[in-house]
Symmetry: C2
Subunit: 203 residues, 2 copies
């Protein structure tokens, strides 16, 4: 099995942390340089027509793209050390949080970066006003998350889950947007320090 990725990008890091938490190590990683367009070749678009990383390539050649779909594959293969829940209600609750983190935190973070930095301006149309609006949404969400974490050890409650991985990678990636946890967010800071200290955070 191979994973095509770019080590500094947030989505590949989500997969690496997920695999580290599950103790899965027998994966070959292929590094692509996205700014150089390594993902825009005809060969790579055969693996993922949307030209995004990460992509998991199985030994039979079948490719799975989309971070959470790749995580799902490994979760289903290795049900021990669950990161997506076991019972129906646990699975639903974790998926709810995972998606809220994605829609209200991860996606605005990526769009804020792309629309204000000009990083991919050769292949998209940056709209600065939209990037700034995303920045406002990110800060608003962090405020809500701080309140939520006052009475919850982890994002989805008592157990560490894929939702914490998504939130950690989003928080760290916000360095590119010059957004960080502020002094008025002690619960967010407590959670951040705790999940950052897990060995998987270095994956």
């Amino acid at each position: 099995m191979k994973i095509y990725e770019m080590k500094i990008a947030p989505n590949p890091r989500r997969v690496r942390i997920f695999l580290a938490e599950k103790g899965i190590q027998d994966i070959e990683y292929v590094e692509l340089d996205l700014q150089n367009g390594d993902n825009l070749t005809a060969d790579f678009k055969q693996k993922n027509p949307f030209a995004k990383v990460p992509v998991l390539e199985l030994d039979n050649g079948q490719c799975i793209s989309e971070t959470v779909a790749i995580c799902r594959y490994f979760e289903e293969l290795h049900l021990e050390k669950p990161l997506m829940g076991i019972t129906p209600i646990e699975k639903a609750n974790i998926e709810m949080w995972q998606r809220q983190i994605e829609f209200f935190f991860f996606l605005p973070t990526g769009m804020c970066f792309q629309h204000t930095s000009g990083y991919f301006k050769d292949r998209m149309k940056p709209i600065k006003e939209w990037g700034e609006e995303c920045r406002t949404q990110i800060c608003k969400f962090m405020h809500m998350l701080n309140k939520h974490l006052e009475s919850n050890q982890y994002i989805a409650g008592k157990a560490f889950s894929i939702a914490d991985i998504t939130a950690l990678c989003t928080m760290d990636f916000n360095r590119v947007n010059q957004i960080s946890i502020d002094d008025a967010q002690p619960h967010l800071k407590r959670w951040y320090d705790e999940v950052s200290a897990r060995p998987s955070a270095k994956a």
Copy 2:
């Protein structure tokens, strides 16, 4: 069990179609008027702090929001008639398509509507240029989807899945953006006619 929804909105329709496909009927629906702000009350924000519909309320009072998390709950409770796959690779492949439809079709569709129509202008900042950029992305995605459906009966391959439900609801909701399938997209049209003819489409 209760589901809080607004019947004409696309996310609640995704859940209704999902439940119809699985033959689940014993649900009470509570209609909210979003434009009137029924979702902005303190009571509703207890159920979902993000004030979105649909929300599933269980008999014990626990609430699950996020369309796909609600679907996951029912999928796990009723594994017969699977709409999210059975084997690890089927689950991963369906989730990949489901997410691609969401990120590259459903989300731009919603943002195109919100940023160009002014529908929620009392509670968000519409940026017309961003709405128009979303329109461009939608049309580009429909072109790719048409090609994909030339050699695939359904979005995720041979079996009808949650990805088809998301795509159908997105396609229909695009009426508000005046976007429809054009004559150069016969495979998309073939798929659309087929999934629209399923009894669940009327749910």
